[in-house]
């Protein structure tokens, strides 16, 4: 058991989630044996398919029972299990520092990313971290050593939210720079245009990455429940706006709805694993739902 000293990681949550495994939804190409499917046939106990024998195949892999039934030579192939590369892309723009009642979105993202990193490391997967913010930009390539996990967790603990978001750039960069299939987990409030998000996700999908998105939202952002005019200061450095929520409330709601509808369309089209999260929810419930949702269903 790794000795944890990061206060954003909760021992009880880790213990509770230790019974669940992180599965990739797509076959992964790993460097070592692991718990994830691989596009390459291997020697695991998981039957994959029958294939006609061709000269050159190892005769020891002939299925004699099939030959007895069909009078033809078949090679019995098994799935290859491998490890995966999990790239955590955390948005560290200024807006992620928003907290109205309770923890900030960045703290929430820190907990999700840290817990997932721990779970992945525990099952032998490589973990990498990409911080996407103009004010705080870090990049740790996925590796599977315990030391590496410690570095990732340290970096998660140290990351700060500031400046404008650099998520789109980081995602495009990640899509290009991660050489093989990987699980890309994006944790962000996604306060960028849905079409920009679409481009990023399509790029990642094009590179055969398994993409999961944690879209973090704060309750007050959704309802704008203020009963008096306020001066709203842009956390990403823009001009402050003086507005009366009692007057612009309906327009705000309409704008939010339009944005979420557009985002739904993007998610539907890009087929990514999308989780819209209110940060007043318990993050272990969110992670449990995420992990359970990725557990492969057995065919009857």
């Amino acid at each position: 058991m790794l000795q944890l000293k990061r206060d954003y990681l909760d021992q009880k949550v880790l213990e509770r989630l230790s019974t669940l495994q992180l599965h990739a939804r797509l076959p992964m190409i790993g460097s070592v044996s692991g718990k994830h499917r691989s596009p390459i046939r291997g020697s695991s106990l998981e039957f994959a398919e029958y294939r006609k024998y061709v000269p050159g195949d190892d005769p020891r892999r002939l299925d004699w029972r099939a030959y007895a039934r069909n009078d033809r030579y078949y090679i019995k192939e098994f799935e290859a299990d491998t490890n995966l590369r999990m790239c955590l892309v955390v948005d560290t723009s200024g807006s992620m520092d928003f907290a109205y009642n309770g923890m900030s979105k960045l703290d929430y993202a820190r907990r999700i990313a840290g817990t997932l990193a721990y779970i992945a490391a525990q099952q032998g997967d490589a973990v990498g971290l990409y911080c996407a913010g103009t004010g705080f930009h870090k990049e740790i390539s996925p590796k599977r050593s315990a030391t590496h996990l410690s570095a990732v967790l340290d970096e998660l603990g140290a990351m700060e939210a500031s400046g404008e978001t650099g998520l789109a750039g980081v995602l495009h960069e990640t899509a290009e720079r991660v050489p093989q299939r990987a699980l890309i987990i994006i944790i962000s409030d996604l306060f960028i245009e849905p079409e920009v998000v679409r481009n990023c996700l399509e790029h990642l999908r094009f590179r055969k990455h398994d993409v999961a998105v944690f879209h973090l939202l704060e309750q007050s952002e959704l309802e704008l429940e203020f009963d008096r005019p306020m001066r709203f200061v842009d956390m990403e450095g823009g001009e402050p706006v003086l507005a009366d929520p009692t007057i612009i409330g309906p327009q705000y709601q309409r704008a939010l709805e339009m944005y979420l509808d557009s985002m739904n369309a993007v998610i539907h089209d890009t087929e990514v694993d999308y989780h819209r999260v209110r940060i007043n929810e318990s993050y272990d419930d969110v992670l449990a739902r995420f992990l359970l949702g990725r557990t492969p269903k057995r065919h009857k």
């Binding site: 797509l26 959704l222 956390m235 003086l242 612009i248 709601q253 979420l260 694993d273």
Partner: protein
């Protein structure tokens, strides 16, 4: 609009308070770091127009509410014309009240006259406002100035009641002017209550210019005219034009000439009952009426012959103006009509004597004396009715005797003297003789046929002045009113204005050398007989008089015998219609004849009289019971409440869009690809 508490209007800048608070709040908004700026910006863009409008309306409502509150405190009064109270506190308020009979026109439903309605409204108005330290009444009847304790007291003063006197508005304004000058009043309000009767206003008078100039010099004097120029829809007035007492054997009778005039455009009753009262005996006669009214000439009322003198009245049923429904008359035995002809020209003197000796009615006794200039001292002034002066204009003692003679109500006729003279009397002076050529004569081109000596005869026919031939006449200077003119505008007969009696100047002589007056006869005879009759009236013990403050002057023992208003005070005697007696003398006091010919001056003409001075006209109607000004604070209070309610509604938070789609945030991920 005006205000009872105008000082409260100082707080009017407070209406900027909501705007100020709004601006301060702009800088006192709670600041909050915000992440979802993209939605906020979008919402701001979407709601820009509506939000601004809403903000503007909210601010407007708040401003209106504050303004309404200030107006409530300042106690506004209705009536945009009313500026007196808003002009500051006057030192003095002068009320010029027209008490003429025409102001007695009543609203038939309320029974309130024009005079009392105007007075009541003014009293209410002054009671609400500030009328200064002096409240002064100038009434048209007495012309006196009277300090009044309070506006309410105006309603009970005898000096504000009805009267039979005519009003003289310019004279009242001159009195007001004199008061303001004497008291050196600073700010003053002059309120005039009148029905714009042409006779009362005398708009053609030259006095107006001087009055206007004088008021312009007085700074801080504001004029307000409460004008009720409406004519009654249906009003009848009665007047006894002439009354004679005749004896026939042992019997006696009164002969009355009565005129009934209609006023207004309403339906006139076909018949009207006229009630006669003589020596407490009453009788009623039905009289046919037409649009102009009716005339009853020579109506005889038999009386006991032992009544050598007495009084009576003629009455009409009640109508819009009760003040012209009863006319008093007095009668007595006709006096001897005595005329004196002063002439150095024997022939002319005889001509005058012949024309004056023959009475128009055999029941009258005429006596004519022709005397030369040097016997003027023999004239018995007390018993003479008419003086014919055909000599140089007198001066000195004789001139003053003639003036006293005229002031006693007698008549003097000056005819052209043969000799030239430079004397001046009554502002008139004889000039040179004008002679027409042998073939040419001067004709009368115009004469006044409606009244005075040359009036049409009873049948309505004009006197044949156009047939007269004038061969020689004297031109003369006079400020009198011509009664007949030649074609070259030179006057033939001129009347000089006097307070009582009459003074005439005739520019030619009756003899054939000068004119055809004697030869034609009719004009000359009628003219002299009328002058004699006119002068004789003053000799009678019974006299008809027009109401006025000095109408009973000369005798001190007048007792009221009968009156329209039995409760009249001693100070009001002579101002009301009634009958007075002082021993053997009788006097019937009535409204003047001109009061029966009510003509309203156009308001534009009246307004023009006040050009250059601070003046406002307030038109009222006798039937209108509303106050001149009423407090409007309730309206503003309601306006304030409405503004506050509107502000509250506008300030209500907009209905929130139910974010059902946002509550379920765990959106299913894209379809799995295995």
């Amino acid at each position: 609009m005006s205000f009872l508490q105008p000082l409260a209007l100082i707080g009017l800048p407070l209406i900027a308070l909501p705007i100020l608070i709004h601006l301060i709040n702009q800088h006192r908004h709670r600041t909050i770091p915000w992440a979802a700026m993209m939605f906020l910006m979008h919402a701001k863009r979407l709601s820009k127009g509506m939000a601004r409008l809403r903000h503007f309306l909210i601010l407007l409502m708040r401003v209106l509410a504050v303004a309404a509150l200030i107006f409530v405190i300042s106690r506004p009064l209705s009536g945009g014309w009313l500026g007196s109270i808003g002009m500051g506190k006057p030192d003095a308020t002068l009320i010029l009240l027209d008490r003429s009979p025409s102001m007695g026109v009543q609203d038939l439903q309320t029974g309130q006259s024009k005079r009392s309605a105007a007075l009541q409204k003014l009293s209410q108005l002054l009671e609400q406002g500030d009328y200064g330290t002096h409240l002064v009444l100038i009434d048209s009847a007495s012309g006196q100035l009277q300090e009044v304790d309070s506006p309410k007291a105006l309603l009970d003063l005898p000096g504000t009641g009805s009267s039979a006197t005519s009003a003289d508005i310019p004279d009242m304004l001159e009195s007001a002017l004199a008061y303001l000058r004497a008291n050196e009043s600073g700010r003053a309000d002059v309120w005039i209550c009148s029905d714009l009767n042409e006779n009362d206003w005398d708009v053609e008078s030259g006095r107006w210019h001087a009055i206007r100039e004088a008021f312009v010099e007085l700074e801080g004097v504001h004029h307000f005219l409460i004008a009720d120029a409406g004519l009654p829809s249906n009003n009848l007035s009665v007047r006894v034009e002439n009354v004679q007492r005749w004896e026939r054997g042992n019997d006696a009778e009164l002969v009355l000439d009565i005129v009934i005039r209609t006023e207004g455009d309403g339906d006139v009753a076909a018949q009207v009952p006229i009630e006669f009262e003589v020596n407490n005996v009453r009788s009623v006669v039905e009289l046919e009426l037409d649009r102009q009214g009716a005339s009853l000439q020579g109506y005889r009322i038999p009386i006991d012959s032992k009544f050598k003198a007495g009084w009576g009245s003629v009455g009409l049923p009640g109508d819009a103006n009760p003040l012209d429904n009863r006319f008093f008359f007095v009668f007595s035995e006709p006096p001897i009509r005595r005329a004196v002809v002063v002439s150095d020209d024997l022939k002319s003197g005889e001509t005058f004597q012949q024309a004056l000796t023959v009475p128009t009615d055999v029941r009258h006794q005429h006596r004519v004396d022709v005397i030369p200039m040097d016997r003027v001292a023999e004239i018995d002034w007390e018993k003479t009715s008419l003086l014919i002066w055909q000599a140089a204009l007198p001066s000195g003692l004789v001139a003053s005797q003639i003036e006293q003679f005229v002031e006693a109500g007698r008549v003097v006729m000056f005819f052209s003297p043969r000799q030239s003279t430079d004397e001046t009397l009554y502002g008139s002076r004889w000039m040179d003789w004008q002679t027409s050529g042998s073939q040419q004569v001067s004709n009368i081109s115009w004469w006044r046929g409606d009244t005075d000596l040359l009036a049409h005869v009873e049948s309505g026919d004009a006197l044949p002045l156009n047939e007269l031939r004038i061969y020689r006449y004297r031109s003369f200077e006079s400020h009198g009113t011509p009664l007949a003119r030649f074609a070259d505008d030179a006057p033939l007969l001129t009347r000089v204005p006097t307070d009582r009696g009459a003074v005439y100047f005739c520019s030619t002589l009756p003899t054939a050398e000068f004119s055809s007056l004697e030869r034609e006869g009719v004009v000359f005879y009628v003219m002299l007989q009328r002058a004699l009759e006119q002068g004789s009236r003053a000799l009678a013990v019974a006299s008809q008089r027009d109401a006025g403050p000095n109408v009973l002057a000369g005798r001190n023992q007048w007792e009221l015998v009968a009156s329209i208003d039995d409760s009249q005070l001693l100070s009001q005697r002579g101002l009301h219609a009634g009958v007075y007696r002082d021993g053997a003398y009788w006097a019937a006091v009535n409204r003047s004849q001109i009061e029966d010919r009510a003509t309203v001056v156009p308001v534009a003409t009246v307004d023009a009289l006040f050009d250059g001075v601070s003046y406002r006209r307030i038109d009222v109607n006798v039937g209108d019971t509303s106050a001149l000004a009423s407090e409007l604070w309730r309206v503003f209070l309601i306006a304030m409440v409405v503004a506050l309610l509107a502000e509250a509604v506008l300030s209500l938070p907009s209905r929130r869009v139910k974010s059902t789609s946002l509550i379920d945030l765990t959106v299913a991920s894209g379809s799995e690809r295995r």
